[in-house]
């Protein structure tokens, strides 16, 4: 048996070149591997069988790729401007502007809501938009464009077409400050509200709890901590102004800056905590000047000056 096989094989392969021999055996091996035994089928059927699952269909012919001709196969080709505004200095901007005008002509009859009721949007500034487009747009043209944008934005939100919405997107700033809502200050299980206030370079944290008017600043009483009467008064001005000086206890930590800064940082901190306890006091506190953060800082010193603005004394030669 072995001898006949041996004889048959050798006679079959006799006279075949070396390279061809290896290629043929390789392709035979591949074909056999594709007809491998399927293990999953064997488990489910309880018997071993040959499957052709490894043979996969050829990948789909990409018709699009066939369509794209290579340059040397192209017979007719000409160059045309990408935009009809090619010869105006601000082609992209003009295209946007004209598109907006068309939208307005098309959807201008949709009902609008008053400007005060529209959700506030921060539109891109002139310089931001101009750098984004990369063209030298005139300010007046951008203003006209923005007027159309604002008018389109006034269309009732439920009737605003998707086209308009997408067109307006490119005029919105990436970061919308109006969407930032301050977190409400919670009152914890001990009845405390924590307010944080800053002024100049000081910052203060004040815990406000219902009580009988005790104040502790950095572990000291108000009189111990603030030497000036004015500072003492301004520190708890929020409570004084609303007549709550004997209704709450304050425990505060203050750091940075001087006495005035610390005292006024404390005003803000306490008023914020007080608003957490009694939100209805906000108008009264605003009248008392306890709601707004004072953004002023020390003005920097300039060269040629002794301080920020003080000039050296004039000396004749």
């Amino acid at each position: 048996m072995a001898s006949t096989t041996r004889h048959g094989l050798t006679s079959a392969l006799r006279g075949v070149p070396k390279t061809l021999y290896t290629r043929q055996t390789q392709s035979l091996q591949q074909q056999f591997q594709s007809l491998r035994l399927s293990e999953s089928a064997a488990v489910t059927n309880g018997c071993r069988c040959l499957t052709t699952e490894a043979i996969k269909a050829a990948p789909e012919v990409d018709l699009e790729a066939l369509k794209t001709r290579k340059v040397h196969e192209v017979r007719h080709a000409r160059a045309i401007p990408a935009s009809p505004g090619y010869f105006s200095r601000v082609a992209k901007f003009n295209d946007t502007y004209i598109a907006l005008e068309k939208l307005l002509a098309q959807y201008g009859n949709l009902p609008t809501i008053p400007a005060t009721e529209v959700e506030r949007v921060q539109w891109r500034t002139y310089s931001d938009f101009a750098t984004g487009v990369g063209e030298k747009i005139r300010l007046i043209d951008y203003k006209r464009c923005l007027a159309i944008v604002k008018r389109l934005n006034q269309i009732h939100p439920k009737l605003k077409p998707a086209v308009v919405k997408t067109a307006l997107e490119s005029f919105k700033r990436e970061i919308q400050a109006y969407k930032n809502v301050p977190k409400p200050i919670p009152i914890d299980k001990f009845g405390r509200a924590l307010g944080v206030g800053k002024r100049k370079s000081s910052s203060a944290r004040a815990f406000l709890v219902e009580g009988n008017g005790e104040v502790l600043v950095n572990g000291k009483t108000l009189a111990e901590y603030f030497g000036r009467v004015h500072d003492r008064e301004s520190a708890i001005w929020a409570l004084h102004a609303t007549g709550r000086a004997d209704k709450y206890n304050v425990w505060a930590r203050v750091d940075g800056g001087g006495t005035t800064g610390q005292a006024e940082a404390l005003t803000l901190a306490i008023s914020k905590a007080l608003m957490a306890h009694e939100p209805a006091l906000k108008p009264a506190l605003r009248r008392a000047g306890c709601v707004t953060r004072d953004p002023r800082r020390v003005e920097r010193k300039k060269h040629g000056h002794l301080k920020a603005r003080k000039s050296p004394t004039w000396v004749k030669r």
Binding site: P17, T19, V71, H76, G85, G134, H156
Partner: protein, 422 residues
Amino acid sequence: MVRASRWCGCWISKNKSTGHLQLDDRRFGEKLIRLDPEPFQLVHDSYTSIPAMIVRNFGLRHGRQVLAAPSSCLVRAASTQATVAVAEEHRAVSASDAAALERIKARKLKLEIQKMPKAFMKKQAYHKETHKWGSQIERRYVPDEILRNPPHDASLEDLMAAQVHMGHYTSRWNPANSRYIYGERSGIHIIALETTAAHLRRAARVVEEVSYHGGLVLFVGTRKGQKPIVVRASELAGACYLFSKWLPGMISNKDTALANGDVVVVDELDRPLEGFEEHLQDRRPLSPDLVVCLNPLENYVLLQECAKANIPTIGVIDTDADPSWVTYQIPGNDDSIRSISLLAMVLARAGERGQERRLADAREGVVKWENPREVQQFILRAKSAERRKEKEALEKAAEELEKERKTSERLTDEEILEKLLA
């Protein structure tokens, strides 16, 4: 529920099953506060018999968040009223009255806004149903009618109706226009509309053929009010527009002035072609192949540049303009928007026809335009590179074949057996 007390328009009640207390604002049907029984006990100890006190303390202790929110006199009363001085109180009351009015107004407005979409739809439906009823309204003059439905040709009546025949004061005339002038009436020159119509048709033919041969047409109208005209014309004719000032040098110094312009390469059916990126980086900017100028008087620089670059121009020549500035004159009134829009739309329609004809022919395999020189050179270069590559590949294949033939040795029987057994 047990009704405990009525105070300040609100009800305080106790839930029998849970023992919770709650404050109801009956006017708005809102449940304002719901309280656990335990803190209530604490409060109850200090102010035993005064329900108002209890309520106030509820407000103070537990209702802060709720009270902060909307509209109720409870807000005012529970938080500020008790301890603020009398004068302050009056001010607060009047202020909050105004605030209440404001709130009512705001609520009304909100309701109105809510109803808007429905009302609009209703109105639309009503209009759709009824707008054809009643008598036929006489056709009136619609200013942008010409732009909405552009005419393919202009008859003498159309030209007359659009006031194309009106020239300038006789004293302002340019004698070169004498052949276009019909006569003089009440101090102004009247343009001969037969001439205008003939010239307009000739110009339209020029635009059509330039478009048909794949040329680039530029519509220029830089006067106030001409913007929609040139935009519409360019839209129809697949051309370019210019409604702002012509930047001097856009033709004569185009390498600098138009360096940033975006250009695409398209085939005979106007489909964008790929593989020309290198060409687009190297190529020079485009120039128009035909310029249609609606106000030649203000565009002397443009027309001069065109003349120097051998670019044909079409212009509307009023009685005060110089007809030698443009290649193809259309005598007519260039000061009226209506007249200009009529002339421009006829030309634009001609351009549209040209484009349509070109595309229809291309679909049947007829292409009447030649590739621009720069593009053709690029294609030829690509072709020769491809040919070179093919040649190299052929040579390589031949070499390999030769090598194979040399190395092919016959296998011995022993070697075959060895391989099979391995």
